[in-house]
């Protein structure tokens, strides 16, 4: 049976029936089932087979240490690349190529964010070095946000429309049947509006438009679009790739509390590591994609939460596996989590991490499409299956295994085990391996400081805290990494599907980026 891409753009199992439903549900359940099985098995083994559990824990600690070293090498390599790319004269490099025909459609979806945040984003676009006449700004408002915010959209349009080549403010209608309210449905609607009202109207070739799907707090560095254009025009297969910058959450880094900073930079570091592992890279947060490709793929899916990574898998399936992400190793700035109070900030961090971890919903989509699409090689399917399942499993279980369950055999292993030399050595060995592993954080703190904006005068004496904050990592990767990931997987496993949660943007004062 021929693979029907459009018919396989599934959001969740509920959209299917019969065998298809059962297959899709199976893959929704699998990641959570594996994570919970691991945790339960660790507890049971610590109780019934403490010796074997202790040996496993030691082996796992060593694996964790070596994995950290391996990932740190990637991090360092990407850090060097980012620094090199930041210092490259992209405009100079572009001179040798024809690029005048390239337009940049910049999607800026917003919900109830403050006007100042939108202005700052638009101002950063104005300050970028690329020709502003080639910018198509799509300010995508939500009807459900209310009249006040629709007015903001129209004010912005009035203020900025003459500054850019094209500017359109769209309003995504509320309550469209079959849609999940969120960024995906909003930008999919806005892109279609932009196609009709700008591209078609001005007869702009879809193949000459590069769409950058940003968040409303995404601030671009001066050369971002020049760099992106260079990568597009030099790409061997520009219509079979998306372009992924490195999101650096440092717009408000001096105002955010330490926990928020560590979680934010950990996210950045993970993306930096992934940039060096193109074979594992999927689009995340702000990303760019040729309009023609996006149009053929049917825009971002509007019936699920993680539209940013899903669009990569959509294209991957659409082109039968012939689709990759091009890592840009060039940053864009975004907001770290910050709310009015510390507790609210922590809640927001947790919710944001849970939403990101809900990217696990892609797994069922991938596997379901693999089952239907016979044109993708089995070897490739197996590789992607293993990469994904290991990724979801390790995110939800590894920190728990390392920092919590590592001590379990000593606690519940029983009298016989507790009198063994292995039992006495286990905490020492675990502690020592963890100390060595944590020494990698020196590199993290160095990179984090190097990626930060210039310290404002009033914050200069806080530099020390930006280094020692990394001691919070065991806490952040457990409480704001593993636990929300486990919750997201559990929700999917139980069929209690999540909706899109918009991270509230809050900035105390304007910072120079």
């Amino acid at each position: 049976m021929e693979y029907n891409y459009t018919g396989c753009r599934i959001g969740k199992a509920d959209e299917l029936t019969g065998r298809n439903y059962r297959v899709y549900r199976f893959y929704e359940i699998l990641p959570g089932f594996l994570s919970w099985s691991t945790i339960i098995a660790a507890v049971i083994c610590s109780w019934i087979f403490p010796m074997q559990a202790a040996v496993f824990i030691i082996a796992f600690d060593v694996y964790w240490l070596l994995k950290t070293i391996y990932l740190s090498m990637h991090l360092k390599a990407n850090w060097k690349k980012i620094k090199a790319h930041m210092n490259t004269d992209w405009a100079g490099k572009l001179k040798n190529y024809s690029y005048d025909h390239i337009y940049h459609m910049i999607m800026l979806p917003f919900y109830k964010e403050d006007r100042s945040i939108i202005e700052k984003t638009l101002d950063s676009l104005l300050q970028s070095s690329y020709d502003k006449n080639k910018y198509i700004i799509v300010l995508a408002a939500e009807e459900r946000a209310g009249a006040e915010h629709l007015e903001t959209a129209s004010t912005m349009e009035n203020k900025y429309s003459n500054e850019f080549g094209h500017f359109i403010a769209t309003v995504h209608p509320d309550g469209i049947q079959g849609e999940l309210a969120g960024k995906g449905s909003n930008i999919a609607y806005a892109a279609e509006q932009a196609r009709i009202n700008i591209l078609d109207k001005h007869r702009i070739d879809y193949r000459n438009v590069l769409v950058s799907a940003f968040d409303i707090d995404t601030i671009v560095y001066e050369q971002y679009f020049t760099c992106l254009t260079y990568m597009m025009v030099t790409s061997k297969r520009p219509y079979r790739t998306s372009f992924q910058p490195v999101p650096v959450f440092n717009n408000n880094i001096f105002e955010a509390p330490a926990l928020s900073r560590v979680v934010a930079y950990s996210g950045t570091f993970w993306q930096m590591v992934q940039q060096e592992r193109q074979e594992r890279l999927a689009s995340f947060s702000s990303h760019s994609i040729p309009f023609s490709t996006l149009y053929e793929a049917g825009y971002w899916q509007n019936n699920m939460v993680s539209e940013d990574s899903r669009i990569f898998w959509n294209c991957y399936m659409k082109y039968n596996g012939d689709y990759v992400i091009t890592p840009m190793s060039y940053p864009v700035s975004m907001d770290a989590n910050l709310a009015q109070g510390r507790l609210q900030t922590l809640k927001n961090i947790y919710k944001q991490q849970r939403r990101w971890s809900y990217g696990v919903e892609n797994f069922a989509y991938i596997m379901y499409n693999f089952a239907k699409n016979k044109k993708i090689l089995f070897r490739e399917k197996l590789r992607i299956f293993l990469v994904n399942i290991e990724g979801y499993w390790s995110l939800a279980t590894n920190p728990i295994l390392i920092f919590i369950l590592g001590w379990l055999p000593v606690l519940i292993g029983g009298r016989e085990f507790n009198s063994s030399i292995l039992s006495y050595n286990l905490p020492y060995i675990t502690r020592n391996i963890m100390i060595i592993t944590m020494s990698n954080l020196v590199l993290s703190s160095m990179i984090a400081v190097s990626l930060m904006p210039v310290f404002p005068e009033r914050k200069k004496n806080t530099k020390f805290y930006h280094v020692i904050q990394w001691l919070l990592v065991p806490l952040t990767i457990t409480v704001f990494g593993a636990v929300p990931a486990l919750e997201a997987q559990t929700r999917l496993m139980l069929g209690r599907y999540m909706g899109f949660w918009v991270t509230p943007k809050h900035r105390k004062k304007k910072e120079k980026v």
Binding site: A54, I58, L66, Y70, S419, I421, L422, S423, Y424
Partner: protein
């Protein structure tokens, strides 16, 4: 990073993993290489000292010292045989024991460090005070009366603030002057011998108790007048003999040295509260504070 570089790193790290795991697991399980590079199984001794500044010697060789961060000592790499373990701290009576180390096992010991000079403090019955007119007046010393109350209640089971199951255990054990319970260690006297038994879950049983039978914690030719737990410890007891000698005795009888220290002479009765020991000697009340 190039693919080739990644592959090289992966191969190296994988080789390190494969090579390291057996080494760490064998090391953690007590395996060591002897002088002839032969693999031998060793054991260890764990000393629950809970005090900083205590030096540990094994067979006369100083090995380690406790500090503020690590107040317990774990000694390993010991071939299976009997070792003479000593714990010494300046100003304290030394603790010694012949510890039999077994292959891949750790013998947990609970050294009791008693100050050399205990300096019992006299607690007067009355406090002397002057009133506003300069007249000497005496008032009852509250600590004295509290201590007297303590003597009265010392043999009664402690009232539990928590639930009924401890009450039922208390009732079942018929606690009283000759039957005491602390943190699931049950002491009782039969004739002139004090026995110790574990009343909690088997897996949590401390190693100073014999898992197979009751532990004979103390016996004497002289009559035992009373006994109780040492302040803030369940591994040691206080025993008052008919000649008025009050001893601190460790319960642990696994190895041949049984550490017993005399705390007071001419003692008539004693009671403990937190880390304090009160005793009456020749009708005078004394207090020893073990927290200092």
């Amino acid at each position: 990073m190039t693919r080739r570089k990644k592959q090289i790193y992966l191969i190296i790290l994988f080789a390190v993993f494969i090579a390291t795991i057996p080494v760490i697991v064998l090391f953690s399980s007590g395996y060591r290489l002897d002088s002839r590079l032969k693999l031998v199984k060793t054991g260890g001794i764990y000393l629950h000292i809970n005090q900083s500044g205590a030096a540990v010697k094994i067979n006369g060789k100083a090995l380690d010292k406790t500090n503020l961060l690590e107040d317990n000592i774990f000694i390993q790499d010991l071939l299976p045989e009997t070792y003479y373990a000593e714990v010494e701290k300046p100003g304290y009576r030394p603790w010694r024991k012949n510890v039999e180390v077994r292959e891949q096992k750790v013998e947990a010991c609970y050294p009791m460090l008693i100050p050399l000079k205990l300096d019992p403090e006299w607690i007067p019955e009355y406090n002397a005070a002057q009133n506003e007119k300069g007249e000497k007046k005496r008032s009852l010393n509250k600590e004295y009366s509290d201590a007297m109350e303590l003597f009265k209640n010392f043999n009664k089971p402690e009232e539990s603030i928590l639930p009924a199951w401890t009450d039922s255990l208390t009732k079942k054990l018929r606690l009283g002057p000759d039957r005491k319970l602390k943190e699931d260690v049950f002491l009782y006297r039969r004739e002139n011998i004090i026995f110790a038994e574990w009343k909690g879950a088997y897996d949590r049983m401390p190693y100073f108790l014999n898992p197979d039978k009751k532990t004979c914690a103390f016996s004497s030719e002289k009559k035992i007048l009373s006994f109780g737990f040492f302040p803030e410890r369940n591994d040691s007891i206080l025993v008052l003999l008919e000649n008025g000698d009050l001893f601190a005795v460790e319960i642990d009888r696994r190895f041949d040295i049984h550490n017993i220290y005399r705390i007071a002479k001419k003692c008539e009765k004693f009671a403990t509260a937190d880390e304090r020991l009160y005793f009456l000697a020749e009708k005078i009340l004394y207090r020893i504070d073990f927290s200092q």
